[in-house]
């Protein structure tokens, strides 16, 4: 009887086992990376040219692992390591890691999942990525993102005055302007006083369900101050695209079935869409008190 065959059995056994083994695998990998980071970094930097990938990357470790895990389904199990491409794009490793760590269903992450994913992202961004910062966390760090409109940056800002070039207007004017101000009011008191930072904050904003954060109702003022323009990293785990953004608004409502919203620029870059084709994103606080990392797209 051949070993591989088709099966009509429900996927529940596989799902349960896969869930346990993926978690264990991530934990073993993390343990190895943590304990022997220096040596593995050294290897990545000194690897022979035929194995070369981005210098200093912990992904160098993956070249030492059996190749089977990184390329599914079954047909690739039989490939020898010599059959692998010589140059492996760094993004491939990121997507493989994310696929391994991010759950199939869109739900709040477990503590272990959060730890594994934030560790991976911190390693990429080079500054700490956190699900909880200063004792405050959101209701979830993994959720469906919906499309938001542009926000008024100053009194009198309209869709006609909003863009800095015709090209920008061409791409993003169709999203329209929200009728009210964002949760934190205007970004600037007037057009004359608006800075590049204000412009970027509106351009690269997300709306999160601040009101559902654990402890929010008991600490409304403190939490609102914390959330206002808080810098976050938002990642589409299906294509590896990421952006540094700020919390620019509160929402969406719970009944929408979405957990956060993105400005037109954020949604376009992440290649996320609204409606029936809505997709999930990861979103975490960036611990960047010196404001070293600029808002906008970031390569992981």
């Amino acid at each position: 009887m051949p070993f591989f065959k088709s099966s009509n059995k429900p996927a529940s056994h596989y799902k349960k086992l896969q869930s346990k083994w993926v978690e264990r695998h991530a934990s073993l990998k993390e343990q190895l990376l943590t304990k022997h980071r220096d040596s593995l970094d050294w290897l990545a930097e000194n690897m022979p040219a035929k194995h070369h990938i981005a210098a200093g990357s912990l992904s160098g470790l993956l070249l030492l692992a059996p190749p089977t895990l990184h390329t599914l389904p079954a047909t690739t199990v039989t490939q020898s390591v010599k059959d692998q491409p010589i140059s492996i794009p760094e993004k491939t490793f990121l997507l493989t890691d994310l696929t391994t760590l991010v759950p199939d269903d869109v739900r709040p992450l477990t503590a272990t999942e959060e730890a594994n994913i934030t560790s991976l992202l911190s390693d990429r961004v080079k500054i700490p990525v956190r699900a909880e910062l200063q004792g405050i966390r959101l209701n979830t760090s993994y959720g469906y993102i919906g499309a938001e409109q542009h926000l008024m940056r100053y009194p009198g800002d309209t869709i006609w005055s909003h863009f800095s070039s015709p090209d920008e207007a061409l791409h993003y004017a169709k999203s329209g302007m929200a009728p009210g101000r964002g949760a934190w009011g205007y970004f600037a008191y007037s057009k004359a006083e608006m800075t590049q930072k204000d412009i970027d904050r509106e351009k690269y904003y997300i709306a999160v369900q601040t009101f559902l954060a654990p402890g929010f109702s008991q600490n409304v003022r403190e939490y609102s101050e914390f959330f206002k323009y808080r810098k976050m990293l938002v990642v589409n785990p299906q294509n590896g695209k990421a952006m540094v953004v700020v919390i620019g608004d509160a929402g969406p409502a719970q009944w929408t079935g979405k957990q956060l919203g993105g400005s037109p620029e954020v949604m376009a870059y992440l290649e996320r869409v609204d409606g029936r084709q809505k997709g999930p994103v990861l979103y975490f606080f960036l611990d960047d008190p010196q404001d070293t990392i600029p808002l906008g797209p970031i390569t992981l």
Binding site: H13, K16, S39, L63, P66, P67, L69, V77
Partner: protein, 109 residues
């Protein structure tokens, strides 16, 4: 054929593969689980070896590993770690025991 690791002759995985086969999974599901098993074993064995080596020897070992010359790897390890085969077998057996328990738990539910 699955890629042969330098420790493949002392770490059997057939007992787990047979159990997965008995679960009547789809081909791609089975392949994914086998890949997870192989990679987990690889990580735990690398950790066990690296934990026994000095900083300088770790680098030398990783270089040997990247070359994929099994004889050279064994010569290197035997010269530096007493009872290295037993140590590899021990950590692999412990992990396989956990994997067997997972299969049993899932299979009996």
């Amino acid at each position: 054929m699955k890629k042969k690791q330098f420790y493949s002759h002392i770490v059997e995985t057939d007992s787990i593969v047979v159990k997965l086969h008995d679960m009547n999974l789809r081909d791609d599901e089975k392949a994914h689980l086998i890949a997870l098993m192989d990679s987990s074993l690889h990580h735990v064995i690398l950790d066990a070896i690296l934990s026994e080596l000095t900083t300088e020897d770790k680098k030398l070992f990783l270089k040997e590993l990247a070359s994929d010359d099994h004889d050279a790897i064994w010569n290197f390890l035997r010269a530096r770690i007493t009872g290295i085969e037993d140590k590899i077998t021990k950590v692999a057996t412990e992990l396989k025991k956990e994997l067997h328990e997972d299969i049993k738990e899932v299979h009996t539910k």
